[in-house]
Amino acid sequence: MPRNEYQAELAALREDVVAMSETVAERLEMGLTALETGDEELAEEVINGDDEINQLYLDLEKQCTDLIALQQPVAGDLRFIAASFKIITDLERIADLATNLGEYAQVADNDIFPSVDIQAIGETTLAMLDSAMEAYAAEDRELCYTVNDRDDDLDTECEIASGTVVRELIEGEQLDDNEIEPFMEDVSRLLLTIRDLERVGDHAVNIAARALYMIDNNDELIY
């Protein structure tokens, strides 16, 4: 393959990974909206869309290994492809978490504790994903650190949210026996939602960490 074709393939990989992230971000937004509105059709759409993401993921993975095997890239190019290879795993996992949100939206009443602002937490995770992908696409090392710092805030937000649930439970009034089961289900779903959003943030950090490793061979954020 001529050199310029190889360069074009590298550029195409970058664009395809960014395009995948945009689809994933869209699914995450849809999952969050479904939670907020209880829109079961939207939830269904997120869940059904996961196959498409999975296919995209394996296609991109093949694109990466083909490039490595056929072009024997070195140094910077190799790091870029290896980073892409890892980043798509994180994107695929975020899409799985979006699917979880869709599933919670179908079964749970997510408004049991209005003081827990799931949408605000969701906005943070979307912004982190966006920055992490920008860091990868534009090779912006500062932005990698920004995402990492932002994750500390997200973790705090999530901790406060879980803490609020616990406090509301301690201070809440006694329930009748027949109210307890459905209430427990809702509480579980809410805790799982918080946990999953926190996980989205972790994946965004993984992406930023890989981007930094690609840009500077700096493994500071990888662990």
């Binding site: 996961d50 290994t65 095997a69 024997q72 890892k86 879980s162 803490g163 579980s188 990888i222």
Partner: protein, 221 residues
């Protein structure tokens, strides 16, 4: 590079990944034991050992990339290397979760009365060990076994979470007692979450192994 040397390197990679996996399982099991017994000294050892795991992780990852770049592997060989590359990530994350458990260890105290750490924690560890065995022995049936075990682990984790929450309903006591209850509850919930995540990583390893063996993506997502 001679063909023989290439095959030696593939065999070495497989062995190295298995050894790394065994090291991670050992760390995780020690972390569970430390959290259960409230053994701070053992917990500290796990936390400070994480650097070593991280270094080894990037070394092995470098081996994978090197093998692909130098040898242009195809078909089964390529699948072995890419599987190894992905499995290493899951192993490193399991070690991170072991570190979480260790960091949350409280002197002389267990995790939470509603959390049966012995059975829940060790079940997840056994899944990881089984997934590594499946990779080592190229055993598709064992891969599916790990996925099935994860359904059990998930429902056990869910039931434990429900028990933790249920204990909160109608808690009495003054502000101090309530603060302590909130703290113990949070620790219990986080511990269950981390154990469940260890199980997820075991499934990822099994899924990658199955994909490597049969090009079967059934468990991958």
């Amino acid at each position: 590079m001679a063909r023989d040397r290439y095959h030696d390197r593939l065999a070495t990679l497989r062995t190295d990944v298995v050894l790394f996996g065994e090291l991670v399982v050992e760390r995780y099991e020690s972390a569970v034991a430390a959290a259960e017994a409230g053994d701070l000294r053992a917990a500290d050892r796990i936390v400070s050992g994480d650097d070593e795991i991280n270094r080894r992780y990037l070394e092995l990852e470098g081996d994978c990339i090197d093998l692909i770049a130098r040898n242009q592997p195809v078909a089964g060989d390529l699948r072995l290397i890419t599987a190894s590359f992905k499995i290493l990530t899951d192993l490193e994350r399991i070690a991170d979760l072991a570190t979480n458990l260790a960091e949350r260890t409280e002197y002389g105290a267990g995790v939470h009365p509603a959390v049966d750490l012995g059975s829940l924690g060790l079940a997840a560890g056994e899944m990881v060990a089984a997934a590594i065995d499946a990779y080592e022995n190229a055993d598709p049936t064992a891969c599916r076994g790990v996925a099935a075990d994860d359904d059990t682990l998930d429902s056990d984790c869910e039931a434990t979470t429900q028990r933790i929450i249920r204990e909160l309903l109608g808690t009495d006591g003054d502000d101090d007692e309530r603060a302590r209850t909130a703290e113990t509850t949070t620790r219990g919930l986080l511990t269950v979450r981390d154990i469940e995540r260890v199980g997820d990583h075991a499934v990822n390893i099994a899924a990658r192994t199955l994909y490597m063996l049969d090009s079967d993506d059934e468990l991958l997502y």
